[in-house]
Symmetry: C2
Subunit: 191 residues, 2 copies
């Protein structure tokens, strides 16, 4: 008897992981189905047993990223924490989502959003909004303590933008840990 997670879904997950890594490295158009297939030891026709087409793979990568990211982020919320403590946690979790090994899903979403079909985009917006709301609340708490500039939308966008852009230059082996980076980010914004 097979386990609850069937071998089929294992292979599907393998494809998703490989696709995420390659989409992040080379972009959606730059990563071919052949490259994704051979990264998991398949032939170039086989991914279409798991996904309808290449767009569906891109969509699944982003959906998986949002699912994982929202789960981790919501798990980091604790009403008993001070604003500063809560901020420290959210920053650390967000940087983990962006930079930890194997976490290529959200970077793919950030930098290949324009490659996704409009209909697929609409299906993700609701989840993205839940994300944004968490950060909007966080910014509101910090502003209530006089900690950030006064336009809440700009504050949120600049804050997240600064973190999101780290994806483009961060190298795991350059002597700067994600924990260290998270501390620096917090110290930069909350003095």
């Amino acid at each position: 008897m097979k386990s609850a997670v069937s071998e089929d879904s294992n292979r599907r997950q393998d494809l998703l992981q490989a696709a995420a890594r390659l989409f992040k490295e080379k972009g959606y158009e730059g990563a071919s189905i052949r490259a994704i297939s051979s990264a998991v030891g398949m032939r170039c026709g086989s991914p279409f047993y798991h996904f309808e087409n290449k767009q569906a793979i891109l969509y699944a990568v982003m959906e998986e990223g949002l699912r994982q990211g929202l789960e981790r982020t919501e798990a980091a919320i604790d009403a008993s924490l001070s604003a500063r403590e809560q901020f420290e946690r959210l920053v650390r979790v967000h940087l983990g989502i962006l930079l930890e090994e194997g976490n290529d899903f959200i970077p793919v979403m950030l930098y290949n959003w324009g490659a996704l079909d409009k209909e697929h985009r609409l299906k993700l917006i609701e989840t993205k909004d839940r994300y944004d709301r968490i950060w909007a609340d966080m910014v509101a708490r910090l502003q209530a303590e006089g900690e950030l500039g006064d336009d809440p939308k700009i504050a949120r966008l600049l804050l997240l933008g600064a973190m999101n852009f780290i994806t483009t230059w961060y190298k795991p082996d350059a002597g700067l840990s994600i924990d260290g980076l998270a501390q620096q980010v917090v110290r930069f914004y909350l003095r």
Copy 2:
């Protein structure tokens, strides 16, 4: 008799502009030579009269961006300004380089750096470093007045990252001018 700027270089410039716009919109791999050609009314073989290959177009786009950007940025430096005034000017210029219509060169560089050949990349690093030095000096001045977090490298990267990421969501027609945005950025960082 022809003018100093020959028609040849006009067509080359047209190609560069169209390539920058399409690379920004669709990414390097997503924008075909055919699309770039037809955007300027050429046939698909003609760009190779002006450029050796597609990589050379990408390189030329980035080089043009750096050239224009550095020129504007250096022109904005004025030793008689206060740190805050200097910061306001640099932010405005940087946002202009990123967001003004027709300024697609630097965004292409920021988001397609990985698509450029290693040898080409090396040839641009010197100019990029001049850019970074200007901002490093700016950050040092602000820190000397106690205005930013204390790690200079992180401060520079987060500051520029927050601005650079604006490229991914800014829409010129959404009621937020670049001037207004620049003011918000300054107010966010220097309270």
